[in-house]
């Protein structure tokens, strides 16, 4: 049967968090660079000027910092493939505590409450919730220098000028991949604070100079207030409010690829192993434990999930694309491999093919 391509809708997912955050990491640096080189702030350089690595790194760090330490409330609009959805976002930093609330504003009700590393995801419509601990992988430490220098080995940071987003002045930069294994991203960073106001993931273009026209997906604030007075109670009011809910708490345990009997026989260029977990899946009940290995190129990441092959469950190998996020499922002997990432499908295939059983 020939592979057929089509569009279909999927339900609300706690999805694009990663994309925006990665873009935030990237953006972080832009702002610092503005401070570091006054001329830049006053008078943006010529378009498409690739920034020196040190400057680019500072830029990324600043955007990341703004995202982490800022207090802001806004409406974030996600669009991909002609679909547009919006979410309400509250983010407060009080002392060392981070409070975050994300609520879908259209379609199925979906709420994500985060207090530091505790993440509670609820779907009020059908009274289902997942409570989990966000496992902070080494590559995503909480210190400002966590902006992975690795990113600038795989991407070039180019300043593209100035623009406005949500009524605020923004620097526009592009992270141009140095190969075809990843997507380009265009980022809009608030001039005043460095906070990322918009992030687009762009379809890969072979030539760095080629016009990047197609945004696979875009996240943008349509409205935002920065530097607001924190209202953590707005977030904590939802904590553990699960009366009548069916609550799942998937277990998580750190491990290593080797300990699980696996190896990545051929490294994928630019990607490094960030961490490895054994974890339960809410949809699998108690039975299913899945290994998740996360690889990062410093800007985007790829998850490789491995579980025992079950004929009744794993019937169809598939490839799926949702916005910039691609998924590939394939059988590997007695195992079932699922690879997910905001990278082109061939990159996911490299991961799937490189995975080797080392009993």
């Amino acid at each position: 049967m020939a592979g057929a391509v089509m569009r279909r809708q999927a339900g609300p997912v706690g999805a694009a968090r990663g994309a925006f955050r990665r873009a935030a990491q990237a953006l972080a640096a832009v702002w610092l660079a503005t401070l570091a080189s006054p001329g830049w702030a006053q008078q943006p350089p010529a378009t498409d000027l690739a920034l020196p690595t040190a400057e680019a790194r500072q830029w990324l760090a600043r955007v990341q910092q703004a995202a982490r330490n800022g207090n802001y409330e806004g409406t974030l609009v996600y669009s991909a493939g002609g679909q547009v959805t919006s979410s309400r976002v509250l983010h407060y930093r009080v002392g060392a505590q981070t409070y975050e609330l994300l609520e879908s504003m259209d379609g199925r009700r979906h709420r994500i409450v985060r207090l530091n590393d505790e993440v509670q995801t609820a779907w009020p419509g059908n009274q289902v919730a997942v409570v989990e601990r966000r496992e902070t992988l080494p590559a995503w430490g909480t210190t400002p220098q966590a902006v992975d220098p690795l990113a600038l080995e795989s991407y070039e940071l180019r300043h593209e000028g100035a623009s406005r987003v949500a009524g605020r002045e923004a620097h526009v930069v592009r992270l141009q991949p140095r190969d075809m294994l990843r997507y380009a991203q265009r980022l809009w960073a608030d001039v005043a604070t460095g906070l990322m106001l918009r992030a687009d993931v762009l379809a890969a273009a072979a030539d760095a100079r080629a016009e990047l026209k197609t945004a696979l997906e875009s996240h943008a604030f349509s409205e935002i207030e920065l530097g607001v007075k924190p209202r953590p109670e707005q977030v904590t009011q939802w904590l553990n409010k699960f009366d009548g809910y069916q609550v799942t708490r998937p277990h998580q345990q750190r491990t290593t690829l080797e300990a699980e009997g696996w190896a990545l026989a051929r490294p994928v260029k630019g990607f490094q192993l960030a961490g490895c977990l054994k974890r339960g899946m809410a949809t699998a009940g108690d039975a299913g434990t899945v290994m998740q290995a996360v690889f990062t190129d410093g800007l985007t990441h790829v998850s490789v999930f491995v579980e025992p092959f079950q004929p009744e469950r794993h019937r169809q190998e598939l490839q799926a694309q949702r916005g910039a996020t691609a998924t590939l499922m394939a059988r590997r002997g007695e195992h079932w491999v699922t690879v997910v990432g905001d990278v082109p499908l061939p990159t996911l295939r490299l991961f799937a093919d490189a995975l080797d059983r080392r009993p």
């Binding site: 049967m1 592979g3 057929a4 391509v5 089509m6 569009r7 279909r8 809708q9 999927a10 339900g11 609300p12 997912v13 706690g14 694009a16 968090r17 990663g18 994309a19 925006f20 955050r21 990665r22 935030a24 995202a67 974030l76 609009v77 996600y78 991909a80 493939g81 002609g82 679909q83 959805t85 919006s86 979410s87 994300l102 609520e103 879908s104 504003m105 259209d106 379609g107 199925r108 979906h110 994500i112 993440v119 779907w123 419509g125 992988l137 995503w140 996240h219 949809t283 990441h301 998850s303 469950r313 019937r315 169809q316 190998e317 799926a320 949702r322 998924t327 394939a330 059988r331 990432g341």
Partner: protein
Amino acid sequence: MSPASPRSAPAGSTDPADPADWLSAAVDGDTSALDRACRALREGDERTRAATRGAWHTYHLIGDVLRSSELASAPRRDADFLAGFRERLAAEPVVLAPVAASRTARWRVPAAAVASMAGVAVVAGVLVMSRGGGEGAAPMAAAPVVPAAGGTTVVRDGYVRDARLEEFIRVHQGAAGGLLLQPQGVRQVDVVVVPAPQR
């Protein structure tokens, strides 16, 4: 029995190859599969026939939804339609072929569109199959979980989706540290079906 998912009938799990796969291939133009699909419809045991008919119906429902949400009907209507459809099927030995789609006004999808959709339907679940209907969606929503091959297909709020696939994506995105802003909502999905390995 749910009209929602071609995978929900257990018949396929006992066969070396799923009749729904044949049907899908048939609609994609594979004539040898067409024979097998038709045979499954005519001569299969009750479960096989139910599964195959369910898949056929689903393909068209998917087509409707994909073309326009206004074409999506409430699950109740689908169930009624399916019941009537089954009666008529029982009354006359209908040979189902792609061109037959245009015979019934209910199936508004041109055969060509169906063809492209059928392949995708094999994935069974990633998509919204019906979201019409408000209260009318109750019969389907009342069935909370429909076990299906290829993942757990769950019916929620009138949506049918592959919960497993969604969870993988959710977990993946959470791994980034999830510091920031996360829009949610209905996403568009492009699905490319890779032919299943020969078993």
